[in-house]
């Protein structure tokens, strides 16, 4: 990581506690991702999303993968086909980073990248998860969505602090302040994906 950061003149932070997303930013910068914060795939021209995934030495993903923020309002005309989740996941460049605890940030390494199209069987499950989650949001039951909702896709709060609030739809149909939430891919999705395409390190 020190090599890569050095090439683009970036200093490697001590750790990621105050620099969440730093790995992803480095990868985007080096590889020339151009979408920035737009609601579009990172490599907008070729429609490929970049996802860095921290993994341990055995190739096991260490955390769920952020997909995109979930809209709390105006969902009535949204379909899976037009959803940002599908747009983001249709073609993904997966970039695993060996990042198990104990390895200093500067010494972490990129593992083998994979550019993969959404597998039809996975897509069917993701679509079903998305529909279930979005329906609960639409019906004002966002607070009933837990970490166990969704088989491959889940919805979790995402904000710099627990005090941040955005407009959502409440149980009675009125706008209510709610925590911003985002879609995440569960670790077993990425684990299966890597196992499907790579030889994983022996334990």
């Amino acid at each position: 990581m020190a090599d890569v950061a050095g090439r683009i003149g970036l200093e490697v932070p001590e750790d990621l506690r105050r620099h969440k997303g730093w790995l992803g930013h480095v990868a985007e910068w080096v590889l020339g991702a151009d979408a920035g914060s737009k609601p579009a795939p990172d490599f907008e021209g070729i429609g490929v999303e970049l996802k860095t995934v921290p993994i341990d030495a055995a190739g096991k993903p260490l955390e769920s993968t952020y997909v995109c923020l979930a809209t709390s309002t105006n969902l009535h005309d949204r379909t899976w086909e037009t959803s940002l989740v599908r747009k983001k996941l249709a073609h993904v460049m997966w970039l695993p980073v060996v990042a198990q605890p104990g390895i200093p940030l500067a010494e972490r390494r990129f593992a083998r990248a994979l550019i993969a199209e959404l597998d039809p069987a996975d897509e069917a499950i993701l679509q079903s998860d998305w529909a279930e989650i979005v329906e609960l949001i639409k019906l004002g039951m966002v607070e009933a969505i837990t970490g166990s909702t969704g088989e491959l896709l889940q919805l979790r709060p995402k904000a710099a602090s627990g005090r941040v609030r955005v407009d959502g739809i409440g149980e009675d149909g009125f706008a209510v302040p709610t925590r911003p939430r985002a879609f995440y891919l569960r670790t077993h999705y990425t684990r299966q994906l890597f196992a499907r395409h790579f030889a994983l390190p022996s334990r």
Binding site: I55, A57, G59, T73, H76, D77, P96, V98, R109, A111, R112, A131, V134, E135, K138, L139, G140, D167, I169, E171, D172, G173, F174, A175, V176, F194, H197, F198, A199, L200, P201, S202
Partner: protein
């Protein structure tokens, strides 16, 4: 211990009445819905003392003959459904066959009914659940039901009734709702001789809204309409015209007045940018869904429904309301109370409880239906798929599998001590060393070049001596054909990128070092005509020794494969054989 006993009918009816007959308005609801199901065009309701002393409902529907009248007051007797199939696509307001016996069990009940072709009417009197039998009387065509002294025999329920004015208000609220649901129905309500509402048959829905909600409200209501499998029609108020409660929201699903959370939530959330919390719009919304995509059999009072796809219903309502809200017709365009540019929608038709006219026409309830796949145009039912007897199927399949497995000549029976496979052959049982099986298969796979490579998720970095590094450099191309891909990664350091797929899971460092060791001091021979360089046979065996221990799930496949590979040698040398006495 108290013995189990079947409850007498009268007591069962009283228990059912606890759910069906909550208050006088519940009685009015059940009787008016029966009148509508009897295709009445006029319903007159008279109540006294808020319905406690008297509820009388008179309709001009098709009435009942003596046999039907007798059955109608028995529990679970109904003309509205016949089979479970009917329950899945209910087209009438009632269907449970509970209302009349329940009401009769907690009141002094009189039913008089006459069909068009009958000379006389039939009268049935029930008092506290006890029927005095049927008598012949004179009466006009239709049905008249009188319910006197409600809850006279259940004083506990009387205590729960509110003031007279409150009960009257509940009844009037229901009458208003049913009037909105059936605009062509002439409905009249009197209380203690005073007319509370009298809504003559309306030709159009907007006329009925004017009758029920009044001109001041109606002129601030605007039309919504979306067609589709889920169709939504009706009127909603402009954002500046709101209430502090939900009582101005009237919702109907397939002609049924409902208080459904999904429907109300969709209406309110459509206004999310227009109304502040605590302000509710006014709305008269009709939702039409295929009968088999909504379950009305959720609650005895049928005020709740359950949609198969609530998200679709929610989406359509929000879309319909937002289309109107986005157009902001109140900003200059006429509302419902003023002349509209186009013809206003006609009221929902009685047939199938659907609007007609400018609203999309729908097929009649019992005719060929675009919603239902169960009916054919000629009215005959489509052949239903032959039900699969799952239990039998499972047994049969399991049995077949068992027979097939038992007849297998080399049958894997299990694993012992993580290392051995127990394999049965005719007359013998083998204790096989599974790592040797894996090694032999891997070695054979490595001889079939080019070998499929399995890329490593985490490329392995290996530092070697100078000689080994030179050897690897020389042999890199033929080793790549073997599926072992590696590249220089600094001084005397190599990075392994892929391993032979058959050795996936083996430590890549060990594979590379094995190659360096086995090939040390040799130079690759010239490639043959096909451009292939032959690797030493011994190397395959050495590399194959790194094959990971196979899982149980691969056992039978690998046993079959190794026997096929070895031919006449069978399993000799791979383990210990025990002869089994016949």
């Amino acid at each position: 211990m108290t013995r189990v006993a079947v409850l007498p009918d009268a007591l069962a009816n009283q228990i059912a009445a606890g759910e069906v007959v909550e208050r006088p308005a519940s009685v009015v609801k059940e009787l008016v819905e029966n009148a509508i199901d009897a295709e009445a065009s006029r319903v007159v309701i008279a109540i006294e003392e808020g319905g406690r002393k008297l509820i009388r409902v008179v309709d001009d529907g098709h009435g009942m003959g003596p046999d039907d009248a007798r059955l109608a007051v028995l529990r679970h007797a109904t003309s509205k459904i016949r089979s479970t199939d009917d329950l899945n696509a209910i087209g009438t307001l009632g269907f449970r066959g509970e209302a009349l016996p329940s009401i009769g069990s907690v009141s002094r009940f009189t039913l008089v009914s006459r069909r068009t072709d009958d000379q006389d009417a039939s009268e049935i009197v029930i008092e506290g659940g006890a029927s005095t039998g049927l008598s012949v009387v004179g009466a006009p065509v239709g049905t008249r039901v009188e319910v006197r002294d409600l809850f006279f025999n259940v004083p506990a329920r009387l205590k729960f009734l509110k003031r007279r004015s409150t009960e009257v208000s509940h009844i009037k609220g229901f009458v208003n709702d049913i009037a909105l649901a059936y605009p062509t129905l002439h409905i009249k309500l009197t209380s203690d001789g005073r007319t509370l509402c009298d809504y003559p048959s309306a030709k159009r829905l907007d006329q009925r809204i004017l009758q029920v909600l009044g001109k001041a409200t109606a002129r601030r209501m605007y039309r919504v309409s979306v067609e589709g499998e889920v169709a939504v029609h009706g009127y909603i108020s402009e954002p500046g015209f709101a209430r502090t409660n939900q009582q101005g929201i009237h919702t109907f699903v397939n002609g049924r007045r409902v208080r459904d959370r999904t429907v109300t939530h969709a209406i309110v959330s459509s206004y999310v940018e227009h109304l502040t919390r605590g302000q509710f719009p006014l709305a008269v919304i009709y939702v039409h869904v295929p009968p088999d995509s909504v379950d009305v059999n959720v609650h005895p009072a049928k005020a709740e429904v359950r949609f198969v796809r609530p998200g679709d219903v929610h989406d359509t309502i929000v879309r319909a309301c937002r289309l109107t809200l986005a157009e902001a017709p109140w900003a200059g365009l006429p509302g419902l109370g003023r002349p509209a540019p186009g013809p206003p929608p006609r009221p929902p038709s009685r047939e199938g409880h659907r609007p007609t006219g400018s609203w999309a026409p729908r097929p009649p309830r019992n005719g060929p239906s675009a919603w239902s796949t169960r009916y054919r145009p000629d009215g005959t039912r489509q052949p239903q798929p032959v039900p699969v007897r799952r239990q039998e199927l499972v047994f049969q399949t399991t049995e077949q599998v068992a027979v097939a497995a038992a007849s297998r000549p080399n049958r894997w029976l299990g694993q012992a001590h993580e290392r051995y496979w127990i394999v049965e052959q005719p007359g013998v049982v083998w204790l096989l060393d599974k790592t040797r099986v894996a090694l032999e298969l891997a070695a054979e796979a490595l001889r079939q070049t080019p070998v499929a490579a399995s890329p490593l998720l985490i490329p392995a970095v290996v530092e070697v001596g100078a000689d080994a590094s030179a050897t690897l450099k020389d042999w890199r191309t033929p080793l790549t054909a073997l599926g072992l891909e590696f590249e220089a990664f600094g001084h005397r350091t190599w990075q392994v990128l892929a391993v032979p797929a058959v050795l996936s899971g083996a430590p890549p460092q060990a594979l590379l070092l094995t190659c360096a060791r086995e090939l040390a001091g040799t130079a690759p021979p010239l490639a043959d005509d096909s451009g292939t360089t032959t690797l030493p046979a011994a190397l395959m065996g050495r590399l194959a020794s790194h094959a990971p221990a196979p899982p149980r799930t691969d056992a039978q496949r690998m046993v079959d494969a190794v026997i096929a590979l070895r031919g006449e040698r069978g399993l000799d040398g791979l383990g210990t054989c025990v002869t089994v006495a016949p």
